[in-house]
């Protein structure tokens, strides 16, 4: 699949947005740390009305903040974009609190917490906010979530010959779930992906390939490499590094032990 990225959104690592993240990646600055309880301040750009903001889970606000940045960078009306929302675990706070409440004698789960617990909560809030009636999917594949997100969005862009909004996002689990599934940081990356056009924009080629030694995805900086390894969304960071630096890059995004996506990025010439 021959694709092009026309907008990027970034939330995480104590960086304000994609511009700051790109600057950090370009100039070898380390990512910062964003504790879960301070995340709220970073998510004001979700643009939800106040009542909805109180209702929506943090994962929804995290995803939406990244989505707004990407669609505005692309200059595309978000109502026209099909939506691919990929998250390894969805709303970890809502899920943890629900499971904890259901183990109590009262077994209470509030209606809002229940509808926020569905994996497509974020795409639901987003589609309502922007008035999009295009197809919205919500997918997961644990540590390979970023890869299948890119695959699904790439296929939709290619076959529909139109731009597609992809957001990959993860929220850490609170304790005691964090012990069982340690995701270290909140992170969201949104991309507006469209079919590549001759002589325009950058180019991202994606093919299914056997896993080989070729295309090591590791980041040179140890702190960025930790983020790549410790957050499923972080698997996209080598691509972001190439985009931030305006450098070509080839790497393999594993789908499982034997196959992966062979990614080849070529900046705009």
């Amino acid at each position: 699949m021959k694709l092009s990225i026309s907008g990027i959104g970034f939330v995480g690592a104590a960086l304000a947005d994609w511009d700051e993240a790109a600057d950090a990646l370009r100039n070898g600055r380390e990512p910062g740390h964003m504790p879960l309880d301070e995340l709220g301040r970073a998510l004001k750009a979700d643009r939800l009305p106040r009542t909805e903001r109180r209702r929506a889970g943090k994962s929804t606000r995290l995803a939406m903040t990244a989505c707004w940045e990407a669609v505005e960078a692309a200059g595309i009306d978000p109502a026209t974009l099909p939506m691919v929302f990929a998250s390894s675990t969805g709303d970890t706070e809502v899920l943890t609190h629900s499971c904890a409440s259901l183990a109590e004698t009262e077994r209470m789960i509030s209606p809002i917490r229940f509808h926020n617990s569905v994996h497509n909560a974020a795409s639901g809030y987003w589609s309502i906010s922007v008035g999009a009636q295009e197809p919205a999917t919500a997918i997961a594949a644990h540590n390979e979530t970023a890869a299948v997100g890119l695959l699904e969005a790439g296929m939709q862009a290619t076959l529909g010959n139109r731009p597609v909004l992809l957001v990959v996002y993860d929220l850490p689990f609170p304790e005691p779930m964090h012990q069982a599934e340690p995701i270290s940081e909140p992170l969201a990356i949104a991309l507006v992906i469209q079919p590549a056009r001759e002589g325009e924009g950058d180019q991202l080629n994606i093919e299914l390939a056997a896993v080989t030694d070729r295309g090591d995805p590791a980041m040179a900086d140890p702190a960025w490499e930790r983020l790549r390894r410790e957050v499923p969304t972080g698997r996209l960071l080598p691509l972001l590094e190439a985009m931030g630096r305006g450098e070509p890059r080839e790497f393999l995004l594993a789908l499982d032990g034997t196959i992966g996506l062979d990614l080849s990025y070529q900046p705009k010439s």
Partner: protein, 410 residues
């Protein structure tokens, strides 16, 4: 304004798929035969809730004896109710043998697995929270989160169980999940990423959905009565269903003609009152199949028996087909199987096609007089060639599948 004139199908020219193997395990029993017998004998599988120590006044569609299903020893990390249901469902109707034959044709790397679920193995975590260390609050260790609760646990289990090596993922868009997997499979095959895909859905009973739907006051205190003027809510069920889909070579007895996907952009847990998103999904399925509304012989409704869902769906049906479209909801037999509802609807429609009858609606006495569709209560002796099945979920997420006998689509 016609919805189809402003919003074309996502990918209008996708090749149609051959459905070369199909199975479903529901509360009616393991395999298609159990569901067929229940449909023909008008024998429902819902019963008052006896799941664990759940204290809710509701009826459920529970698959019997899942507690005694065991997984192979080398896959024991996957052990949870949802994967036991996957295991039971997989070994029905010659499905595993059909996949083995597809492996001979295509190779293991060329076959993917995409399954829908709403809650996967969350019950495993819910029960683990009952075993927390009273001192530290820690959960029992290891929890095996990735192989039980995590959403792609079932597709991963199926991949490992069948020795497949293609791409795997879970689609989790609440109750439309296992409809939308067919769209993903169509894309995987159309782009050449896969030659065949195992699709379907696995969703099992858990506290989150039982207490969650009860908190929304969406569960009935008796067996659900879809479309009834006095309908008062859903009955939650569980199911595992699988389909093997491949590029159509003119050999399959059943074809997927088109998939329609949409969202309502209206409300997180209520459908648009006029069924706007549902209408769009059905129109997009027709567009994708290049078929006219007149060519659909029967619609297997989402028909959960919630007051608002059934009314909105009837409005949407009238917009697409006009009044009098033959349809029914089969949730009275199986309950609402949530993330497995799409595949359950497809298997029900396939049985109707193969055995030449239209299933009616169970437990329903008086169809809502406001409805304009031909809402079947009794089974009808009429062989359908083309069937549409609807599945709609929270977040306003809609999917319609249009399928049937291949020779009828010429």
């Amino acid at each position: 304004m016609s919805a189809s004139s402003v919003c074309p199908a996502l990918s209008p020219n996708l090749p149609r798929l051959g459905i070369t193997a199909l199975t479903a395990t529901t509360a009616a029993g393991p395999g298609q035969g159990a569901l067929l017998d229940a449909l023909r004998d008008r024998r429902g599988a819902l019963a008052p809730c006896d799941f664990l120590d759940v204290d809710l006044p509701t009826w459920i569609g529970r698959v019997a004896d899942l507690e005694s299903v065991s997984l192979p020893r080398d896959l024991s990390d996957y052990d949870c109710r949802n994967n036991r249901l996957a295991e039971l469902g997989l070994y029905q109707d010659g499905f595993v043998e059909a996949v083995a034959a597809a492996v001979q044709r295509h190779g293991v790397e060329r076959i993917g697995v995409v399954l829908g679920t709403s809650t996967s193995g969350i019950l495993h975590t819910e029960l683990a929270f009952r075993e927390r260390d009273p001192e530290t609050g820690a959960l029992p260790s290891p929890l095996h989160y990735a192989t039980t609760h995590e959403l792609s646990s079932a597709p991963r289990y199926v991949r490992d169980r069948l020795g497949l090596k293609g791409p795997i993922y879970a689609v989790s868009t609440a109750c439309s999940s296992s409809g939308k997997v067919f769209a993903s499979a169509q894309r995987l095959i159309a782009t050449g990423m896969c030659d065949a895909v195992v699709v379907g859905g696995v969703d099992s009973l858990c506290l989150t959905t039982l207490y969650g739907f009860a908190s929304l006051e969406l569960t009935s205190t008796g067996p659900c009565r879809p479309g009834d003027v006095a309908r008062d809510g859903i009955s939650i069920g569980e199911a595992a269903g699988f389909a093997l889909v491949e590029a159509d070579r003119g050999e399959a007895a059943l074809c997927l003609f088109g998939v329609g996907e949409s969202v309502d952009a209206h409300h997180m847990s209520l459908p648009h009152p006029e069924g706007r998103g549902a209408e769009l999904a059905m129109r997009r399925a027709l567009d994708a199949a290049s078929l006219s509304p007149e060519s659909v012989d029967y619609v297997n409704l989402h028909g959960t028996a919630s007051r608002v869902n059934d009314a909105a769906e009837d409005r949407a049906l009238e917009s697409v087909f006009g009044p009098g479209q033959a349809c029914s909801s089969t949730k009275g037999w199986t309950g609402h199987t949530l993330g497995a509802a799409g595949i359950t609807g497809l298997v029900t429609g396939a049985l109707a096609i193969e055995h030449g009858f239209l299933p009616g609606t169970l437990n329903t006495e008086h169809v809502d007089p406001a409805f304009t569709a031909d809402y079947l209560v009794e089974n009808r002796d009429q062989p359908p060639a083309r069937v549409m099945t609807n599945s709609f979920g929270f977040g306003g997420n809609n999917c319609s599948l249009l399928f049937g006998r291949p020779e009828e689509n010429a």
